[in-house]
Subunit: 320 residues, 2 copies
């Protein structure tokens, strides 16, 4: 039985109405109505995920739902925003109820972790594409920009780098041990570093999320800030799973330096705040690692354990 | 020469940075940063337009750009909101510079009419799809909802109905006179009734935009308000172009009752405000026509000039 667009929205999406303090009106009218409390700034971001481009065609519908929201929340994390609401523009080739049921389960699993209400959207027919817009709140003047890095600041990264790229490199490899599964979990269900971003509001001078790879994303911060940086290859954080499987990768360092899709935060921190940063992240139980230093000379440089330059490729995913 | 995503955004989109009072930060960081002034509510809507579904494959890129934004602004109009900003998630199969140049020209032609800044977005590779999200502002408590219609209210429609559906019915007809061109203009470049919506904030009890056809959209208002209505077929506003070409259509009344894509406003108005409504719309030089009356009995009824019931089909575009 074919579902109408209205039935489909009611069954899989509108029924998940969340009560949220700043939502006056959610799904069901021409617009959602939202409040932004006094003293707060609204942060908005939109990202589209397309099968075969942003996620593998064989990813489970639940992971597609989870990941599509996670990559948007990661943009809020990078600004230090607290998630407030989201909208969903979903394009699907047909009203496949099993797919919709799993997709919405994965989507709302993550949404509910942040008590994030779906306030509006649109379901249309066409090739699978998920466009999500998130809104978040930041105290006025506290947003983490890309443009604030200064020479002398330390460069930090949360969590570990290269895991998602490693999972893509392992694809098709049948030896699925626990480390494999951990890396695939990082690709399929990345953790948006929301709490870390909110803590960094009072500590970091600049911040970005690592979606296109460390070299590309840190490069955006440096360019926007008019500075450069030197990072140390042996300091880049690698997970235990990554290290266990590293010999299977043709170029493990390239995965850590250039691999995208980790959705960790990379930030710059003035030296006088580094002690406080370590203490706050210990409280948060979120790993954070110093990977280098901001320098006045533009450009990004990387040195290995012997202090020799590591050549950096023009990295980052290119759509066109 | 292939453009990177960053070059493409810079060349066709980010360069059109508008200065706008409530935009603290536009394109270029992880999120846009926006203010909502005290006493104002934020209205947000998202709509996706897909080639071959929401617009004909042969529509000019400039019209695609114009129309994709217009249909979103129409949702703001239906709530009585003043447009404040928009984001664009654009999926294109390749970086065709001629297409992008024309698309962005059409998009910004309409955006600039409302001094509407593009504050963020995403360009990805895939089958052509345009997902736009708009944000608008409404004084607290003044939003026009679908749920406020009461028995005894008059039902009004702005402009004329059936024009866009008539253009679709004429498609392929080579006799392209001025009336043809006018109807195609209504399909390709619908006018979002922003000013009318803002005036209706103080006058209407309920409002919706006619995107799926009068029967379907007025039906949403009636259902949400728990009432019914009787409309008069001969009162439904038809444009001069429509009337001139009416004999070419197999069922002209069906186009007026059920044709979508006109993006006029349909609203309900308490009788004591009707005189003021007429005066305010005369000032605005926006046509508005009384088409019927809200009744306590649920359901939508339509009568012809002889007072006989006109059968209504379950109208509205069905995606699935």
């Amino acid at each position: 039985m074919a579902l109408s667009e209205f039935e489909l929205i009611e069954r899989y999406f509108a029924g998940r109405r969340a009560v949220a303090p700043n939502v006056l009106l959610g799904i069901g009218d021409d617009c959602a109505l939202l409040k932004v409390p006094p003293g707060m700034t609204l942060a908005v971001s939109v990202d589209t995920s397309i099968a075969g481009v942003h996620f593998p065609d064989d990813m489970s519908p639940a992971d597609v739902g989870y990941r599509s929201l996670a990559v948007n929340l990661s943009d809020l994390a990078a600004m230090g925003a607290q998630p407030s609401w989201f909208t969903l523009a979903l394009t699907i080739s047909r009203a496949d109820e099993a797919w919709l049921s799993e997709f919405s389960a994965g989507l709302f699993e993550l949404a509910e972790r942040f008590s994030l209400p779906l306030v509006g959207g649109d379901v249309t027919r066409g090739p699978l594409s998920i466009s999500i817009q998130v809104g978040g709140l930041i105290p006025d003047g506290k947003a983490l920009l890309r443009s604030g890095a200064r020479a002398g600041d330390a460069v930090y990264a949360t969590g570990s780098l290269g895991d998602a790229a490693a999972a893509l490199a392992l694809r098709g490899d049948a030896q699925a041990g626990p480390s494999h599964r951990e890396l695939f979990g990082r690709l399929h269900r990345p953790t948006p570093r929301i709490e870390a971003g909110m803590v960094l509001r009072d500590l970091a001078s600049a911040c970005i999320d690592v979606s296109d790879g460390l070299v590309a994303d840190l490069g955006h911060v440096l360019k926007r800030s008019g500075v450069g940086a030197r990072i140390e290859l042996q300091c880049l954080p690698r997970s235990a799973a990554f290290r266990e499987l590293a010999e299977q990768f043709a170029e493990p360092d390239a995965l850590v330096l250039g691999g995208g899709d980790d959705y960790e935060l990379c930030c710059t921190v003035p030296p006088e705040r580094e002690v406080l940063l370590q203490a706050r992240f210990a409280e948060l139980q979120c790993p954070i690692t110093r990977i280098g230093r901001v320098e006045a000379e533009p450009g990004l440089r990387c040195v290995d354990a012997r202090g020799e330059d590591v050549p950096l490729r023009d990295a980052g995913y290119r759509h066109f």
